[in-house]
Structure formats: C-alpha cells, structure tokens
C-alpha cells in the first residue's frame, strides 16, 4: 500500500521534486526575478527547505514551488532595497500581475521547458530556424545534408515540440 501522502518521507519527496523542478526554479529566480547567479542556489535551497518543512498536500507542486520562489525573490529584493530599487514584479501578487504578462511568462517558461526536453539535434535545428532566422538551405549546409531533409526535420521537431508542450501545459494537441 502506498504510504499516506502526509507521511511520505521528506527524503523521497526531495529527490523527486528537486530532479523535476530545481532547474526550473533556478531559471525563474534568475530570469524572471533578476536574482544574481551567485544567490540563486541559496534561494532555491530556501524554497525547497520550506516545502519539506511544511509538506503541503497540493495538487500542483510546480505552481507551489513557483509561488514560493516569487515570495523568496520578493523578500530578497526587499532586504536589498537600499542597494537596488524593487522592480515591479517583485511586489506583485497573483492578484495584480497583469493577465497578459503572466500569460506571456507562463508560455515562455513552458516553451523553455519544452525546448529543454527536446533532443539536441531538434533543439539546434529549431533554434537556427526560428531564433537565428536561418534559411533551411543554410541549416542544411551546416548539417551537411539536403534542404529537403531539413524541411522534414523541422516538421518532425515541431510536432515533437507540440507534444511536449501539450504535456507540460496539460492541453490537448
């Protein structure tokens, strides 16, 4: 029989959640809240420590950890208000973050997680095509293959990325 959720060992919870979400929290701390790289790990530690201590029985642990990270970042910048002014997003709560901005960030975060889960070749091909705006012919040259193959590769990678994105956002393709 599975152990009662509240009695699940903290060590087990840590291994699972850290593996799944630590990188996401690091990225969020740095890229969304502007935490300097040298302080990111300490904040992530605090968020996980708090979660282990409180052992919340929530449905969406990712949302819980991201919420806790927002609070940790807010506190981080409050403490340093004499060093640098608080940015708008540090003071925001769920209520006052504009819906459009929250949606943009959520999309980008989910997309970032999608790209991270793609194979290296797909990621590189999509990066060249979308971000660096390279033509299929140039990508083919770089990969020492044909443009037709690159077109096929782009199609497959897009399909794979959509599947991952749907899984991450719990949507139907």
């Amino acid at each position: 029989m599975a152990p009662h959720a509240a009695h699940r060992p903290a060590a087990e919870i840590l291994e699972e959640l850290y593996r799944e979400h630590a990188a996401l929290l690091c990225a969020t701390a740095h890229h969304r809240y502007g935490i300097p790289p040298e302080d990111v790990q300490a904040l992530v530690h605090d968020v996980f420590a708090s979660m282990l201590e409180r052992n919340p029985q929530v449905d969406d642990t990712r949302a819980f950890l991201l919420g806790a990270m927002q609070n940790a970042a807010r506190h981080y910048w409050r403490k340093r208000r004499h060093e640098a002014p608080l940015l708008e997003e540090h003071e925001r709560t769920a209520d006052d973050t504009t819906a459009a901005e929250l949606e943009r960030w959520t999309t980008n975060l989910s997309l970032g997680a999608t790209l991270a889960q793609l194979g290296a070749k797909c990621r590189e091909t999509l990066r060249r095509y979308y971000l660096e705006d390279e033509k299929p012919r140039d990508i083919a040259e770089h990969l020492e293959t044909s443009a037709a193959y690159v077109m096929q590769l782009l199609s497959n990678c897009r399909k794979r990325a959509r599947e991952i994105y749907c899984r991450i956002t719990r949507a139907q393709p």
């Binding site: 903290a10 990188a23 980008n108 975060l109 970032g112």
Partner: protein, 411 residues
C-alpha cells in the same frame, strides 16, 4: 483540459522567435547543484517525525491520556518533528474530537515557542502551529481566542523570510471563517477572496475550494439564498470533478440551508442526505451532527415534528458530549420550540432549565446570563411561548457578532 487551435499554434511558433524561451531552455539544461544540505535536512526531518509519531501515537488515542502526559514540559518532546506530528494529527481531529485537536495544537504552539526561542526552528513552524490552534479554537466556538491565535500567526510569518503567501492564506482562511461566524461578512469576504487567490496561484485546489465555499456561506447569511445556492452548486460540481468529497459535502450542506429558506424542501433534503452520507464515509462526526441538526430544522419546516425532535435532540446530545457548548444550547432552544409546536409543553421546562452557554468575554457572558435568566423566569412562570424561546435563541446566536448588544425581553 484546454484544446489547442491553429491560433494557439501560431502564437507558439511566434514565441519560438523570442530569445527568452531559448535562454530559459539553456538554464533548464544546466544541471542544478547537488542538494547536499537539503538531503541532510530531509533526513533529519524524517528521523524526527518518525520518532515523534512513535512517541505520540499512544498519547493521541484520547484527550485524558494526552493531557496526563503533559508533553509540553517534557524534554523528550521538544523537537520540530513533534510540532509537525501534532499539527498533522490535530487537522483530522478538528471535526471528530475538537477538544483533543485543541490540546494537540496548543502543545504544538508551546513546543514551537520553546524551539524558536533557541533558534531550533523557524518562526514559520510556530506560525503554522498557531494556525492549527486557531482552527481548533474555531471548531469549539472560541472565536475571540482564535483571532488572537491568528494575530500570533501573522507575527510569526511576518518575521520569517521563508514564510509564503500560502502560509498567510491559511491565516486568512481561518479568519474568514471566524468572521462569518461573528457576522463580519464584508471582512470575511475580503479574507476569503484573498485566500482563494493565493491558494489558486500555489496550486492548492483543496484549500482554494475551502476558501471559495466561504463566499456561499456569506450569501446565505446575507439572506441572498438564490445567489448562495448558485455559488454553492457550482462549487460542488467543481469539487466533484476534482474528486474532493469533503468540499462536495460542505457545499451541499450550506446549499441545503439556502434551499430550506427558498422553500425547496426536496432539494434541501436531497443535499443534506448526500452530505450526511459523505460525512459518514469520511468519519467527520461534528459535520455529521450539524447536517443532522439541519435535517431536523428541515423536518420542522415541513411539519414533521417527530423527525425534527429526534434529529435535533440527537444533535444536542452530541454537541454536549463533544463540549461544543454554544451549539448545544442553540439546539436545546430549537428542540424546545419544536416541543411546543408538537403540543408537548410539559417537556420544555426541564430542557430549558439547564441551558448553558460559554463566552470568553465577561461582558458577553453577563449579557448571555441576562437572556438565560429571562428564559428561566418564563419557564418557572409556566406556559412559555415559542416567541420567547425564539427571542433568546436569536439573541444568543447573534451575540458573538454583536458582543456589546444588551438583551431586551419581548415587550
């Protein structure tokens, strides 16, 4: 589940031209540091909690046994693990054995206070213990003390940088419930809405539903029965979809009271029976007693006095056994009124001679004593009328909301 359309996929591809997702992907691919310190903390928590469970399990079997152990002053119980286990044990006891829940939560607060005074645990742990104690106080109807406990929780969370909005949302949720019971409905609504928003953003569906349910309760108290029923029906469906039986029952229980007032007795009865079955399934005795009481009130509204008497008397006895003094008193008054309606006035006097209420404020207690003295005088004079009983009942029910209001007998 959301269904993606072509427009969504166009936005998806447009977002791929934005550098941010790529930067995030690179960051996500970088391996995070090995969590050595977190592993140490997790191992320590597991060890402390396992030891605490072994120590506390026999003591939490009954209130006398727990009180006799006096764990708050016993050095072997001074660990964070004991605080955690007391809190997690008090939670399911709130309904079934609220006095034991209160004793456990009070011990947790004392131990957490001792530990924080020597920096052996964070103030957020103490804050959580205060919240749990506030819940227990709420369940035994000691609202003023519950508010004091919530203020202490606020202080603890404010002083701890690792406390989150999710922690504070728990304070707001208890506070909203206390405000509802003490008829401060606008403030209750503010607290409930803020708690619901925080729980939602932290992915906590169960507490999101709990906070949202308060809104339905507020509509009921504002006598917006149709509005309340609509809010609660929607929530019950949402809770059912999430498989959250507890909140289905709570929504049905409150909606049932709305439907009594709307005169839709069939719907009310169906909802109460649905709630009753869930309380039985979940083993939540205090909630079961309240629903049984509501079924008694419904039976009275339908003129089924025998059923009303049986159900309300059962509720009254259960409240008295559980030490829920004020609800026991209100149930006694309900029972007396039904006895008069059922043409059994001879049984009213012995029932009303022993009505007891308990308020922590001396002023409220004094006012309540005046109301009860008026009741006893009417009983001793013989031929007490239903209007007198109703007057006293309404006064006692409203007293927590209006603690300084004086009692005025019927003209």
């Amino acid at each position: 589940m959301k269904q993606f359309d072509e427009h969504d996929w166009e936005r998806f591809e447009a977002a791929l031209r934005d550098p941010e997702p790529w930067t995030l992907a690179d960051a996500l691919l970088a391996p995070p540091a090995d969590p050595v310190a977190l592993r140490r903390l997790a191992a320590q928590l597991d060890e402390e909690r396992a030891a605490a469970r072994a120590l506390l399990a026999p003591l939490l079997a009954s209130l006398p046994r727990f009180e006799a152990a006096n764990i708050a002053s016993d050095s072997q119980f001074q660990t964070r693990g004991v605080v955690d286990v007391l809190n997690e044990s008090a939670r399911p006891l709130r309904n079934a054995q609220p006095l034991l829940a209160l004793a456990a939560a009070t011990a947790a607060v004392t131990i957490a206070t001792n530990l924080t005074s020597v920096d052996a645990c964070g103030l957020r742990v103490l804050g959580a213990a205060h919240v749990e104690r506030a819940w227990a106080l709420f369940f035994v109807g000691r609202y003023r003390e519950a508010e004091d406990a919530l203020r202490q929780a606020d202080h603890a969370f404010d002083a701890d940088r690792q406390a989150t909005d999710w922690d504070r949302a728990h304070v707001s949720l208890v506070r909203a419930n206390v405000y509802v019971e003490t008829h401060r409905l606008d403030a209750a609504s503010d607290e409930a809405l803020s708690a619901a928003a925080a729980f939602d953003s932290f992915g906590d569906q169960k507490y999101y539903l709990a906070a949202s349910l308060v809104e339905g309760g507020i509509r009921l108290m504002q006598r917006d029965y149709r509005g309340g029923a609509e809010v609660l029906d929607r929530l019950a469906e949402k809770a059912a979809r999430a498989g959250d039986r507890l909140h289905v029952a709570r929504a049905r229980q409150t909606a049932g009271n709305c439907y009594i007032e709307l005169g839709e007795h069939e719907t009310a009865a169906a909802y109460f029976h649905e709630a009753l079955a869930i309380w039985d399934e979940l083993g939540l005795d205090t909630e079961r007693v309240r629903t049984n009481w509501s079924l008694g009130v419904l039976a009275r509204s339908r003129g089924n006095f025998d059923e009303a008497l049986a159900r309300i008397d059962e509720a009254r006895r259960a409240f008295e056994t559980m030490g829920i003094v004020n609800d026991a008193a209100l149930a006694r008054l309900d029972l007396a009124e039904v006895l008069l309606l059922a043409n059994r006035p001879g049984e009213v006097a012995p029932l009303l001679r022993d009505v007891v209420v308990s308020f922590t404020s001396e002023g409220m207690m004094q006012n309540a004593r005046l109301a009860l003295a008026y009741l006893r005088e009417a009983v001793e004079a013989g031929g007490i009328e239903a209007a007198v009983i109703r007057r006293v009942r309404e006064y006692l029910e409203e007293l927590p909301a209006n603690p300084t209001s004086s009692f005025f007998p019927l003209a």
